[in-house]
Amino acid sequence: MIQINNLHKSYKIGSNSLHVLKGIDLKIDEGELVAIMGSSGSGKSTLLNILGMLDIADDGKYLLDNVLIQDLTETTAANYRNRFLGFVFQSFNLINYKNALENVALPLYYQGLGRKIRQQKALEYLEKVGLKDWATHLPSELSGGQKQRVAIARAMASQPKVLLADEPTGALDSNTSNEVMGLIQKINEEGKTILVVTHEIEIAHMCKRIVTLKDGVIVEDKKTNQTLIDTNV
C-alpha cells in the first residue's frame, strides 16, 4: 500500500539546515496497523506529514497504492488527500462552528457529493463510532474522546486507503485513549491500513507493528504481540 525509498527531508532554520529524515525505507502492506514511535525530534511527525502529502520530501520515492507521489501541485495534493487519506490529529481539528454531522460530512463535500448523500453517509460513520445521538452537537459540547471519535468518523467518511493518526491519544486520558485505540483497532480489523504516530509504548503495543525512529533513521522495525482492547463502543 505504501512504499517509500530513501526519503530525505531537511528544514532550514535560519542559516542552518536541520536534517530530519536521513533516508527512510519503509513498506507497509494493506491492512496493516503500524505504530511509528520515537522521541520528539526523531522525525516521526515529519514522516507522517510527508506520507499525508501535507509536506513534501526533498529526496526519495513515495508510492501510495502504486501511484507515484511527486511534483504535486497544491490542487492535485488536495485531490489525493481527499481520495486516498484520512487524518486524525492530536488536537482533533474539528471545525468549531460545525456540528458533529457537518464535520464528518465535510470531506464528502470536497469529493463533490450531493447534500443528501453526504448527510446519510456522515450519519452512517457517526453511528460506527457510536455517536449517532450526538450528530447535532457542536464540538464544544463533546468530551475529548467524543471529539476524537468524530474526527475518526470524519477521516473514515471519505473512504480513504490509508488512515494517518498523529498522536491520536495525545490529548486524552488513559481510559479514553483505550477507547479511541479500540476504535482504531476495530477499523483496522475491517481491513483499513492505519499508521499511528505515538511516543507512548502502551499505545504502540496496541498496533500490529512498531517502527521506531531515532535521529531521522529507522532503528527498529518489529511485529508486536498486539494488545487488543475490548470495547463495546
Binding site: 481520495r83 462552528y97 460545525k98
Partner: protein
Amino acid sequence: MFSRDRWQEIFETIRKNKLRTILSGFTVALGIFIFIVLFGFGNGLKNSFEEFFLDDATNTLWLYPGVTSKAYRGFKDNRRIEFDNSDLIDIQENFAFFLERITPRINRREVLGYKNKSNSYYTRAVTPAHQYIEKTVIMKGRFINQKDLEEKNKNIVIGRLVEQDLFKNENPIGKYVEIKESAFKVVGVFQDKSGDREERLVYLPYTTRQLLEKTNDKIDQIIVSFKPELGYVGALAFERQLRDFFKNKKVIDPSDKSGLYIRNTAEMVKQNQQFAATLQIIVAIVGFGTLIAGIIGISNIMVFVVKERTKELGVRKALGATPISVVGMILHESIFITTISGIFGLLIGVFVLSRLGDQLEQYFILNPYVDTLTAFIATFSLIFFGAVAGYIPAKRAASIKPIVALRDE
C-alpha cells in the same frame, strides 16, 4: 463555482459566525451610509448656495444713481443724479452690441386694498424684460406685457404671498384691487424662490407709475442684461463703457466714485462659481475620504477574518479542499456579505436623506441628495476593495501548507 452546495456552505458559515458576519457587514453598511449622508449633505450645501446666489439672471448690470462728491464743470458737489426715460433710450441706441434686455425700476411702497382687507407692499414699476432678469416664475395669469406698457394700463402682477394675504382662497386674476383710490386689475401671480420678501412684491408697468406721478419721466434704477456670449471680459467692457457714457451725460467727474454705481453680476457670478467649485471639491474630498476609511475598515476585517480562519482552512485543506476552493469560498462569502450590507447601507442612507428633505434648511442644507451613479460607484468600489482586501490574505492562507496551519500551540 456558484453551485447550490457552495451557497449552502456559505450560508451555513455566515449563520454560524454571526459576530464575524455582523462585524464585516456593519463596517460596509456604515461606510456606505456615512458616505451617502455626508455626500448628500455636501450636495445640499451646494444646493442652498446655488439657491442663494445663482437664482437671478447672471448676466446683468445694475445702474444706481448716486450723489456727486466732487464739483465738476460748473456743477457743485453733493448733487443728486437722477435717471429718466431718455437714459433707457440712450442705452438701447448706443449699446445695441452688448444689450440683451433692459428695464427700469421705480420702487414705491403702496397700500393695496381688496374688499375689507388692506396691506402695505413694495411695488416695482418695470418693463416685461424684468421677468427674465429676476427669473420671475408666473403661477397664474401673465406678467406685465408690452401692451400694458404702451397703453399705461392699470394692471398689476402680485406675489404669491400678496395673493395669500388679500385673496385667501379666491382666484385673484381679473379682480380689482385699490391703490391710492384707483382700481388696478390683477393680471398675474408669481412666485420667487429667493424668499418671502420677494413674494410680497407687486409689479406694474413703469409707464403707469410715471402717469400716476403726474407724467414725470424719472427712474430709480436701470437694470440691463448683456448677451451671455460676451462672457466675463465683454461684461467688464460693457460696464466700463456704460460708466463712461453716463459720467459724461450726467456731467460727473470721471474720478468721482459716488455719482454713479454699477453693480456687475458677472463679477459676482465668477466669484460664486469659484466658491461653488470649491464646495464641490470639498464635498468630493469628504466623500472620497469616507470611502477610503470604509475600504480600510473592511480590509482590516477581512485580514482579521482570514487570520482567524487559518486553522479552519488548514483542516479543510487536509480534508481535500483545493487552494482555489479555499480562496473562492472566502471571496464568495465576503462579496456576498459586503454586497448585501452595502446595498442595505445605501438604502438606509438614501432613506435618511429623503426623510431629512428640507428639515435642515436652517443649517444651509437644502434638498440633500446623492445621484444614483455616485451611490452605486461608491457601493461597488467598497465591495470590490473588500474583495481585493480579502483576496490577498485568502490567497496566502490557501497557499500555507496545511501542516503549518494545523500546527498546535
